[in-house]
C-alpha cells in the first residue's frame, strides 16, 4: 500500500489553497486581458474611453507600459502585449484593472479597436508555401538513406496529420502580484517554472532578480501549459501592481485561457519507408513540420524531441529525420506532456502499422522484428546513443500474454465478419521515452533541507507540485534516508528566494533532479548527525549538551570530517534500502544507533537537539546535475538522455459504423518504471497520462474560425475524456526492476511516457478500418484526433461526398 499524495487529505476537504483561493486583500484589484480577434493585423485605432467609464474600472495598461515588452524562453521574440500589430487571435492587447473580476470582464467589451488586416498564415501548408519558418530546418541522419531506399524490396510513402491538444488544466492561468516595500514584487503564480516567472517579471518591470520573488505553492494541473506560458500573465499582474501599488489578481476564465494560450503543436509529417518481406525497415526518410503559432516559445525544442523520437522504439539502419518549425498566425504553441515525443512516436507507429498492412502481417510481428535489440548491433539510435537496459522485448512479451493478444485477434476477425453495426480493431504500441532535458544546462537542480530542533523537517526545491506527486516522492526520499515517517517532513512552496536558477518542472524530470538534490542535501546533514551520534554514544548521557550546555561545563563535541561533496545520489548508498551510511550509524524508525550496539541508541529528535546545542548545522543545501548529457544540436549526435522509460499498451476499440463513434473496449499497459518511489502514485500517472492522450487521439478537437480564433474554447465544445470514456477494461502493470542504476534510487521518470501509449487506441482505430473492404489495399489516412466525424468520414466517405461535392 503506497502512501497517498501528501496533499490528498486537504484536497478532499477543499482546504488545499490554490492561488485564487487566497483571500483578497482590502486594496486588491482585479485584472482581465483584452485580446485580438484577428489573426494578423495592424491596430489602427485603440480607444479605452468607454472602458474607463464602466463601473469599477480603475486603469488600463498596454504593452507600452512595460519596461521591456518582449519575453520568450528560448528566443525573446514575443510581446507580453501586442503593440501596433497583432499576430494571432487571442493575443493580449490591453489590461483592464477594476475593483472586481466581473467589472473588469464586463469592461473588456467596451474597448474600441479597429484593425487593418494583413495576410495571415493559418496552416502548415500555407506556411510551407510562403516559407514562413522559425529557424532553419534541422536534420539527424544515419546511414545511406537514398541508396538503401532504392534497394529496398518494398516502399511506401505517406503522411500523418496531427492536430493540437489543449492542456485543459482545471485551474486556469492565475497570478497575484503583491507590491512590497522598496520596489519589490512578490508573485503567487500557478507556474511550472518559478525561476522563469521571476526573471520574466523582473525584466518586464525593469527590476533586478533580487527584487522579485515568485512563489508556487501548487497548481491545479500544468501538463506543460504552465512551463513557459504562465510567466507573461504574472508579468501583466506585476505591471499593474507596480504602477498602482496595490495587489493585483489575474485569473483567466476557462474560455479566455483556451483562446489565448498555446497548445500541443500540430504536426504534419511526411515519410518514405523502405522495407523487406518480413517487414524489417531498411530505410526511413521523415520530414516533420510543426505549427509553432506566432512565436517561437519552446517549439524548436519540441521539434528536436520529435526528431529524437521519430524512430519510435525501432532500430532503423538508414534514417534521415528533418524537422522544420513553421510560423503561423495561431496562438503560440508550447510544451505539453510528452513535448515532441508523441508526434515522433505517432509517426513511427503509423509506419509500422502501414508496413504490416501492406505485407498482410500482424503489426505486432512487424514491431517485434524492428525493435531495438542488443543482438546484431541493433541498439544504437539515429542520434548515436546506445539504448541501454532495453527491456522492450520483455515488456511486449508480458503484455502479449496478459492481453491475450493472439486469441483476441482471432475473436476480432470473427466479430468483424458478422457484425453489421460495429467494426473492431486492436493495436499494441510501444514507448521508449528519453529522460532528461535535451538542453544540457536545464538538467540541474538544487534543494534546501532544514531540520528543526524538534526533529521535523522542511524541504524546499525548485520542483513545482501540479498533482504529479513530486512533493510526496521527494519527502519520501528524504525521510526514508533519515529513518523517519514521511509526515516528519513538509515540502514547502517553491520560492525563488530559497531555490534560485531552477529549471521548469518538466520533461518528467521533477523527481529525478530535485529528488536527487534533496537526497544529497539530506545526506550532508545525515553525515554530520552520524558523526555526532557516533561520538555522543561514547559519552555518558549526563554529560550531553542537553544536560550541560546551559552551564557550559562540558567541552563541545566537535566534528572532524569534511562535509559531504557528492553529485551521485546512489553513491555510498546500499542498493536495496537506498540509504547511505556514515560512521556505520543506522537511522531507523526514528532512532539512531550503531549496528553493533543496537540498544545504545538515541532518538532522532534528541540527536537533533544535541546537534543544535553542539553547534552542528542542521540545514543544508545541495546541487545536482544529471551526468553524461552530451548532445550536440548542430550535428544531431550524442547522448541526449540519461536513460529511457519504456512500456507498451494494447488497446481494442469498437467503431460504430452508423455514427463513427469510438469506444475503447479494453486497454492493457505494461511499463518499466524501474523501482518506483511510490508505486500507486506512479500508476496514477500512467492512467492519467493514458486517458489524457486518449483524448488527444479521439475526442479533443480544436476548432478555429477563419481568423484562427479558437471556437471550441470551453468544455461544452472541447471534449476531454469523461469517466464514461475510459476503457471498459483497463489494466496497468509495472515491470519493477533494479536496472536503472543511473537515476536516484533506481527509479524511472513517469510523467510523460505513458501518454504516448494512447497512440495504441488511435492505431487500433486504423486497424479496425483495415477490416473494411475499402481499406484492404490502401491504408486509412485518418488524422489525430479520430473524432467520430473523422471516423465516419473514413468509414463511409461516399456518404459525405454526396453532400460536399
Amino acid at each position: 500500500m503506497s502512501l497517498p499524495h501528501d496533499s490528498a487529505h486537504t484536497h478532499v476537504t477543499g482546504q488545499s489553497e490554490f492561488v485564487d483561493d487566497r483571500p483578497a486583500m482590502k486594496n486588491e484589484l482585479f485584472m482581465d486581458v483584452f485580446y485580438s480577434s484577428r489573426a494578423h493585423a495592424l491596430i489602427k485605432k485603440l480607444d479605452f474611453s468607454e472602458v474607463l467609464k464602466m463601473p469599477g474600472v480603475v486603469a488600463v495598461f498596454t504593452g507600452k507600459d512595460f519596461h521591456h515588452n518582449l519575453w520568450g524562453t528560448i528566443f525573446k521574440d514575443q510581446p507580453i502585449l501586442a503593440v501596433d500589430k497583432v499576430q494571432y487571435a487571442g493575443e493580449g492587447i490591453a489590461l483592464i484593472v477594476a475593483t472586481s473580476m466581473e467589472a473588469a470582464q464586463r469592461a473588456k467589451y467596451k474597448v474600441i479597436i479597429e484593425y487593418t488586416d494583413l495576410e495571415a498564415v493559418l496552416s502548415i501548408d500555407e506556411a510551407k508555401a510562403k516559407k514562413s519558418f522559425i529557424m532553419d530546418s534541422r536534420k539527424i541522419e544515419r546511414g545511406e538513406v537514398n541508396s538503401s531506399m532504392k534497394l529496398a524490396p518494398h516502399k511506401l510513402s505517406g503522411k500523418i496529420i496531427i492536430q493540437g491538444h489543449d492542456h485543459f488544466y482545471l485551474e486556469s492561468q492565475v497570478s497575484i502580484a503583491y507590491p512590497l516595500e522598496d520596489g519589490q514584487m512578490e508573485l503567487h503564480s500557478s507556474s511550472q517554472h518559478s525561476t522563469e516567472t521571476q526573471h520574466v517579471v523582473a525584466h518586464a518591470l525593469g527590476l533586478s532578480a533580487k527584487d522579485v520573488v515568485c512563489i508556487v505553492k501548487r497548481m491545479g494541473g500544468g501538463f506543460g501549459g504552465k512551463e513557459s506560458q504562465s510567466a507573461p500573465f504574472a508579468a501583466m499582474a506585476a505591471l499593474a501592481a507596480q504602477k498602482l501599488n496595490v495587489p493585483i489578481r489575474i485569473c483567466l476564465t476557462k474560455d479566455d485561457d483556451m483562446i489565448m494560450t498555446g497548445k500541443r503543436n500540430p504536426f504534419e509529417n511526411e515519410y518514405d519507408v523502405g522495407f523487406d518481406e518480413q517487414g524489417r525497415i531498411l530505410s526511413l526518410d521523415v520530414r516533420l513540420f510543426s505549427d509553432a503559432g506566432a512565436y517561437a516559445d519552446l517549439s524548436t525544442s519540441i521539434m528536436e524531441r520529435a526528431m529524437l523520437h521519430s524512430d519510435g522504439s525501432y532500430f532503423i539502419p538508414n534514417i534521415r529525420v528533418v524537422g522544420q518549425v513553421c510560423k503561423t498566425n495561431h496562438h503560440s504553441h508550447t510544451a505539453f506532456r510528452g513535448f515532441g515525443g508523441p508526434k515522433g512516436q505517432a509517426t513511427a507507429e503509423k509506419i509500422i502499422e502501414e508496413v504490416a498492412h501492406y505485407l498482410k502481417l500482424d503489426p505486432l510481428e512487424v514491431r517485434k522484428i524492428n525493435l531495438y535489440s542488443d543482438e546484431g548491433g541493433r541498439n544504437l539510435t539515429h542520434y548515436g546513443q546506445l539504448v541501454k537496459n532495453n527491456c522492450l522485448a520483455k515488456v511486449i512479451h508480458q503484455l502479449e500474454k496478459k492481453s491475450n493478444y493472439v486469441k483476441r485477434r482471432e475473436d476480432i476477425s470473427a466479430f468483424n465478419k458478422t457484425s453489421t453495426d460495429f467494426v473492431r480493431g486492436m493495436s499494441l504500441t510501444t514507448v521508449k521515452f528519453g529522460i532528461s532535458f535535451t538542453t544540457r544546462f536545464l538538467n540541474q537542480g538544487n534543494a534546501l533541507v532544514i531540520v528543526h530542533n524538534d526533529g521535523s523537517l522542511q524541504i524546499s526545491t525548485g520542483a513545482t507540485e501540479m498533482g504529479q506527486g513530486v512533493n510526496a516522492r521527494i519527502s519520501t526520499l528524504v525521510t526514508r534516508e533519515l529513518g523517519l515517517p514521511r509526515d516528519a517532513a513538509r515540502v514547502m512552496p517553491t520560492r525563488t528566494d530559497k531555490n534560485a536558477n531552477t529549471s521548469p518542472t518538466a520533461a518528467s524530470s521533477g523527481t529525478d533532479i530535485n529528488g536527487a538534490a534533496a537526497l544529497l542535501a539530506t545526506r550532508k546533514i545525515k553525515k554530520r548527525l552520524s558523526e555526532l551520534a557516533y561520538k555522543l554514544l561514547d559519552i555518558p548521557k549526563e554529560k550531553w549538551a542537553s544536560k550541560t550546555a546551559g552551564l557550559g561545563t562540558q567541552p563541545e563535541v566537535k566534528l572532524e570530517t569534511p562535509n559531504l561533496d557528492e553529485n551521485d545520489p546512489n553513491a555510498g548508498a546500499e542498493w536495496q534500502s537506498g540509504k547511505a551510511t556514515y560512521f556505520e550509524m543506522q537511522f531507523e524508525d526514528g532512532w539512531v544507533f550503531h549496528p553493533e550496539h543496537p540498544t545504545k541508541k538515541i532518538e532522532f529528535k534528541y540527536l537533533v537537539l544535541e546537534a543544535y546545542l553542539n553547534r552542528v548545522s542542521l540545514s543544508d543545501y545541495a546541487f545536482y546535475k544529471i551526468p553524461g548529457i552530451e548532445f550536440n544540436k548542430l550535428t544531431g549526435q550524442g547522448d541526449a538522455f540519461l536513460y529511457f522509460t519504456q512500456g507498451a499498451a494494447c488497446s481494442e476499440v469498437s467503431l460504430n459504423k452508423l455514427t463513427g463513434e469510438v469506444k475503447v473496449l479494453r486497454t492493457d499497459i505494461v511499463m518499466d518504471l524501474g523501482r518506483p518511489i511510490n508505486h500507486d502514485l506512479d500508476v496514477g500517472q500512467v492512467s492519467g497520462a493514458f486517458i489524457q492522450g486518449l483524448g488527444w487521439v479521439t475526442t479533443e478537437n480544436l476548432f478555429y474560425n477563419d481568423q484562427g480564433l479558437l471556437l471550441s474554447h470551453a468544455p461544452s465544445t472541447y471534449k476531454i475524456p469523461n469517466v464514461q470514456d475510459t476503457p471498459r477494461e483497463f489494466n496497468i502493470e509495472l515491470l519493477e526492476n533494479d536496472e536503472n542504476t543511473s537515476n536516484v534510487q533506481g527509479t524511472k521518470a513517469v510523467g510523460e511516457p505513458p501518454l504516448l501509449l494512447a497512440l495504441s487506441a488511435w492505431t487500433a482505430v486504423n486497424n479496425a478500418l483495415t477490416y473494411l473492404p475499402r481499406y484492404h489495399k490502401t491504408y486509412p489516412t485518418i488524422r489525430i484526433p479520430a473524432t467520430s466525424e473523422n471516423v465516419m468520414r473514413a468509414l463511409n466517405p461516399d456518404a459525405f461526398s454526396v453532400w460536399e461535392s
Binding site: V12, T13, F168, R218, Q468, L711, K719, P721, A799
Partner: protein, 485 residues
C-alpha cells in the same frame, strides 16, 4: 412578503438581499463566504468542479428528489436557492474525521492536483445519499461512473476515482441529511416556503410569487422581467458576461408545479419538474426516454434543470424537444385569458423564439404515453457520448396497426441540430403513411427526409456529417423494425 431569500448553508441559516441574491452560488461561496473549497473551472456546468449538495424539501413528488443532490454552483443564481438546504465540501469533514467519500479518495489516490477533487467528493457523496435513502448497500461500477458523469478530471484518468467510490462501505454511513437537516431547519424552510419573495434594488430584482395570478400581474407590470427555471442556461450566459441579470421571476414557491400527473395514459409534467424526476418517472413508463435522459447533460444539471426549461429555451440542439415532438406533446400556457394549450409542433417559431405571448407563463407539458403496439426510438450523437450537447438528435414514434408491426398507423418524426428550431418532419411522415412500408419506400423517404432541413456546419459537426448521421439513424429505425428483411 419576504424581502430576502432564505436558505441553509452547512447547517446555518442564511439570508440574502439583492446584492448577494444576484450572485452565482459559486461566487457567493468563494468570495462572500470565504468557502473556497468549491472551485470554479468552466463556469458553464460542464466540469462539476463547483458541485455542492442541495436539498429542496418542498417537493411533493418522487423519493429520488427527497435527498441532498449534487448541483453545479457556478451556474446557479443564489436567488433560486431560496428555501433550499445546501452543504459544501468545506463542511463534509466531521470534527477531525473525513467523510467516507473523502477518506476513500485519499486511500485510493483519487486526487492528484486537487482542483476537481471537491467536486468529485460531492458527486460521490450525493450518490451515497441516494443509496442511504433507499437502504441500498451495494454499488456497481456503472453506477459509480454514472454519478461522476458530470465531473471532469484531467489528472487521474478516473480509474482511481472509480475505485474510491467502489471502496466505500455503504452499510454504516451517516447521511448528510441526518447530520445537517435538523427539525428546526425543516421548520424554518417550511415557513419560508409559505411566503412569497420580492427583492428590489436599483440593479437587481427578484420576485417569487405563491400563485400564478400574482406572477401574471407582476409580468404585466414588468414586461422586461424574465422567468427563470433553473437558470442552467441563463447562468452560463451571465458568466460569459453576455447579459446581466436584472429582473427575474421564479415559480419555485408553487407546489402545484412540481408534480407529474398521469391520468388514463395522459401525462402532465409541471413547470418545476426536474429532468432527474422525469427520468425517474420514465423508467417504468417509457424506458427509451429514460435511457435517452441518461446521456443528457450531467447529473448535476438534471438534478436542478427543469424539463420545461429545456423546452422553453428552444435550443435547436436541445435534447428533449425532439423527443416530446415525437410524442405529440402540448404545452400548457397560462395567461390573461386563462389556460390554453399549444401543440409543441406549433411551439417553436424561429431560432430561440417560442409561441407564447408576453406575460404568459408555461405551466406544464402534456403528452400521451405510447400505445401498446408502438415503437419510440430516440437517437443522439455528440462528439463525446456523455455530458455533451447533440450534434444531431432524432426521435421517431410509430404506432403500428397491429402486433405484427408491419403497417404504420401513425408516425411522428422530429429532429434536432438540423435547423434553427427543433423540427417536426411532417412531409416525411405523410410520405411514409401514404404507401406500404418497404425498403424502396424508405429509400424514397430518405430523399423527402433530407429535403425538410438544411443543417449548418459548426464547432460540433459539419453539415454533411449531420446529414449522414441523421440518415443513418432514420434508416436504422426501419432496419430494426424489420423493414426490408
Amino acid at each position: 412578503m419576504r424581502q430576502k431569500i432564505i436558505f441553509y448553508l452547512n447547517g446555518k441559516r442564511k439570508e440574502a438581499g439583492a446584492e448577494q441574491a444576484s450572485m452565482m452560488l459559486a461566487d457567493y461561496l468563494r468570495y462572500d463566504q470565504s468557502l473556497t473549497g468549491t472551485k470554479i473551472v468552466c463556469a458553464e456546468g460542464d466540469c462539476g468542479a463547483c458541485s455542492v449538495l442541495r436539498y429542496f424539501p418542498h417537493v411533493p413528488t418522487s423519493v429520488d428528489a427527497q435527498n441532498y443532490l449534487a448541483v453545479n454552483s457556478c451556474i446557479t443564481v443564489l436567488a433560486q436557492l431560496d428555501g433550499s438546504s445546501l452543504v459544501t465540501v468545506d463542511a463534509l469533514k466531521k470534527n477531525e474525521e473525513l467523510h467516507p467519500a473523502q477518506s476513500a479518495m485519499v486511500k485510493c489516490h483519487g486526487s492528484q492536483c486537487g482542483f476537481c477533487t471537491p467536486g468529485f467528493v460531492m458527486a460521490i457523496t450525493g450518490m451515497m445519499e441516494e443509496k442511504i435513502s433507499k437502504s441500498q448497500t451495494t454499488l456497481t461500477s456503472q453506477e459509480a461512473k454514472n454519478c461522476m458523469t458530470g465531473n471532469l478530471c484531467r489528472c487521474t484518468g478516473y480509474q482511481p476515482i472509480i475505485d474510491a467510490a467502489l471502496s466505500i462501505d455503504l452499510k454504516n454511513v451517516e447521511s448528510i441529511k441526518s447530520r445537517f437537516y435538523s427539525d428546526h431547519q425543516a421548520q424554518e424552510l417550511r415557513a419560508a416556503f409559505a411566503e412569497s419573495v420580492h427583492i428590489e434594488s436599483e440593479h437587481f430584482s427578484f420576485f417569487a410569487p405563491k400563485t400564478l395570478k400574482e406572477a401574471l400581474l407582476y409580468l404585466k407590470a414588468n414586461p422586461d422581467a424574465k422567468i427563470m427555471g433553473a437558470a442552467t442556461d441563463l447562468g452560463v450566459i451571465h458568466n460569459k458576461r453576455k447579459i446581466t441579470l436584472t429582473k427575474l421571476v421564479s415559480l419555485h414557491l408553487m407546489s402545484e408545479l412540481y408534480s407529474i400527473d398521469e391520468k388514463a395514459g395522459m401525462v402532465q409534467v409541471g413547470a418545476r419538474v426536474t429532468l432527474t424526476e422525469l427520468r425517474h418517472f420514465m423508467k417504468d413508463k417509457i424506458s427509451e426516454f429514460a435511457h435517452y435522459l441518461d446521456i443528457f447533460a450531467s447529473p448535476q444539471i438534471k438534478n436542478i434543470g427543469t424539463v420545461i426549461g429545456n423546452i422553453a429555451n428552444a435550443s435547436p440542439i436541445g435534447d428533449t424537444p425532439s423527443a416530446f415532438l415525437a410524442l405529440n406533446a402540448t404545452v400548457c400556457v397560462y395567461g390573461d385569458t386563462g389556460e390554453r394549450e399549444v401543440a409543441l409542433s406549433e411551439f417553436f417559431l424561429a431560432y430561440r423564439t417560442i409561441n407564447i405571448k408576453p406575460g404568459e407563463i408555461i405551466t406544464a407539458i402534456k403528452f400521451k404515453l405510447p400505445e401498446v403496439n408502438s415503437t419510440l426510438k430516440l437517437y443522439k450523437n455528440s462528439n463525446r457520448k456523455d455530458l455533451d450537447i447533440s450534434a444531431v438528435n432524432l426521435a421517431i414514434n410509430v404506432a403500428w396497426t397491429d402486433q405484427t408491426q408491419k403497417e404504420l398507423k401513425e408516425i411522428t418524426i422530429a429532429a434536432g441540430g438540423v435547423a434553427a428550431t427543433p423540427l417536426r418532419l411532417k412531409k416525411t411522415e405523410t410520405f411514409l403513411k401514404s404507401r406500404p412500408l418497404s425498403q424502396a419506400t424508405i429509400d424514397l423517404a430518405v430523399k423527402e427526409f433530407h429535403s425538410e432541413f438544411k443543417p449548418l456546419s459548426d464547432v460540433r459537426a459539419t453539415s454533411a456529417y449531420r446529414r449522414v448521421l441523421i440518415e443513418n439513424y432514420f434508416r436504422k429505425f426501419f432496419t430494426d423494425a424489420g423493414v426490408g428483411q
